[in-house]
């Protein structure tokens, strides 16, 4: 496979984790501008576990996911009474505060003649796992795609369970949810924590692929992009955010001659799309209709 294509696909896969984590928060009815922070924390933790401590990437990625989950849970607990715009802005502040923390972490070791470790604004270089294990771009793409597939399988099985319908109820109409015996607070906290884990895992993969990470990479814009992919793609199923990622990165890469004007075109197209399909492409209604047609055919 062409290396360029493999890179693009890998980037899509990594961003998909971020978009899916934004999706998980949107499902319970909240907007988060902070998922990029969990992505970043996951990146730093995975980098530290693999490059500094020399552990296997399984542990690195697991630690990244857990780190993301813990931070997300902390945020969820602090903002437990907030919703809507207040919650959204608090996620933004939390994310920037986390990033500030990353900007000031310095812990470098000299390993095999290389400086390894987080070094403030310079970031974390020499995350050499893919070099040490002779992973070509295509190999890493396979690894990332496999992880993503496993996540999607998990999410799809979640879709079919009561949990997802309950979450959507909490997101759409908390009063209805309560009358059905669902605790909106518990659902929110659970899904926010899960979103942190997903973002953290993706961030870990990102660190491994990029081999160099720095706090500037995990700013607000990254998070808002992930959010946009989820909403444009549609919140009906986990395929929605994926579609959003593919549309943006895929379409845009393919019109590279117009590179200078791509956002002008794309921005306008997206706004236009939303006029006609306000719920995104893979909207919940669409998915529900498709599901019931499927069931009717097989009854």
């Amino acid at each position: 496979m062409d290396i360029y294509l493999a890179s693009v696909l890998t980037n899509m896969t990594l961003i998909a984790f971020l978009a899916l984590s934004a999706y998980l928060v949107l499902v319970v009815g909240e907007v988060s501008f902070g998922q990029q922070a969990f992505f970043g924390i996951g990146a730093y933790i995975t980098a530290s576990v693999t490059a500094l401590a020399g552990a296997h990437i399984f542990w690195g990625l697991l630690a990244g996911a857990i780190g993301g989950a813990v931070c997300a849970l902390l945020l969820g607990l602090l903002t437990i009474r907030l919703s809507g715009i207040y919650f959204a802005i608090s996620t933004l502040c939390f994310a920037e505060l986390l990033r500030f923390f990353l900007l000031h972490i310095r812990f470098t070791q000299n390993i095999d003649g290389r400086i390894i470790g987080p070094d403030g604004p310079e970031g974390f270089s020499n995350i050499r796992w893919i070099f040490e294990n002779h992973y070509e771009v295509v190999d890493f793409l396979l690894l990332a795609a496999t992880c993503l597939t496993i996540l999607l399988i998990l999410l799809f099985s979640l879709e079919r369970s009561r949990i997802m319908l309950g979450a959507r109820m909490v997101g759409n109409d908390p009063i209805l949810a309560q009358s059905q015996g669902l605790s909106p607070t518990r659902y929110r906290l659970s899904f926010i924590t899960l979103s942190g884990a997903v973002a953290g895992f993706g961030g870990g993969l990102f660190a491994l692929f990029n081999t160099h990470i720095e706090p500037a990479m995990f700013g607000v814009m990254l998070g808002i992009h992930g959010l946009a992919y989820a909403i444009i793609g549609g919140l009906g199923s986990a395929m929605g955010p994926l579609l959003g990622v593919v549309l943006d990165i895929g379409l845009l890469e393919s019109i590279r001659q117009l590179a200078a004007y791509r956002m002008i075109i794309f921005g306008g197209l997206v706004a236009l799309l939303l006029v006609f399909r306000p719920e995104g492409i893979v909207s919940p209604r669409l998915v529900s209709r498709l599901k019931s047609r499927w069931r009717n055919r097989h009854v």
Partner: protein, 217 residues
């Protein structure tokens, strides 16, 4: 047995409810009527856990529910319908009714209720494609599948024609079990007379729920 004792609630300095007391036996059918603004909605909201009273207590079979959140009320067996029927717009009726029936016995009840009410044909539709009388029935069914201790109906006649009301009343009389107590908050006395054993009236500032009509002889 479900009871409200000494319930009081004020909003912004205005006492909406003062010392409200109410006791329900299993299978009791009670109607609550009253003029607009007298506090009927507040009462239902407090009785089902969606509002916290400023004073007083709520008991269900020795359990104290007073400061519990609404979902805990639902778990304990207090179900309700809403003035404007509440359904997810993005899932079809069948899915949503199925969601309400978690336990196996609830699923059996659900099948029964659907068959008896003729809702079969509407199950694959979305709530905004379903006519209001059918939706109201569906909301009642949703409340009944869990075999609740108490079912509160919040202005169920709103938006229904006289014929639809008759049908709805007949439907209610058939479907309610022996165990479930029913409380109907309504202002249409004729409708309430059909489905309740007794009606009380809420009066403004008197606070107390007073007896107006004893319907069953």
């Amino acid at each position: 047995m479900y009871s409200l004792q000494g319930i009081g609630k004020s909003f912004g300095g205005i006492d909406v409810l003062t010392d409200i007391c109410l006791t329900l036996r299993p299978g009791q059918r009670l109607g609550i009527t009253g003029a607009n603004g007298v506090g009927k909605s507040t009462l239902i909201n407090i009785a089902t856990g969606f509002l916290t009273p400023d004073s007083g207590h709520i008991h269900l079979n020795k359990k104290i529910l007073t400061y519990r959140p609404a979902w805990a009320f639902a778990h304990a067996g207090i179900q309700r319908t809403f003035q404007t029927t509440r359904f997810l717009t993005t899932a079809n009726l069948g899915e949503q009714l199925l969601f309400a029936a978690r336990a196996p016995e609830s699923k059996i009840r659900l099948t029964q209720l659907i068959r008896l009410s003729g809702l079969q044909a509407s199950l694959h539709l979305f709530p905004d494609e379903i006519p209001l009388p059918v939706l109201r029935k569906a909301e009642v069914i949703r409340g009944l599948v869990v075999s609740p201790e108490v079912l509160f109906l919040d202005e169920p006649s709103a938006g229904l024609t006289v014929d639809e009301l008759d049908q709805f009343g007949a439907f209610l009389q058939q479907q309610l079990g022996q165990k479930t107590a029913l409380v109907v908050v309504e202002h249409r006395l004729d409708f309430m007379a059909i489905i309740t054993d007794s009606i009380v009236e809420m009066k403004l500032n008197r606070g107390l729920v007073k007896r107006v009509v004893d319907v069953k002889t």
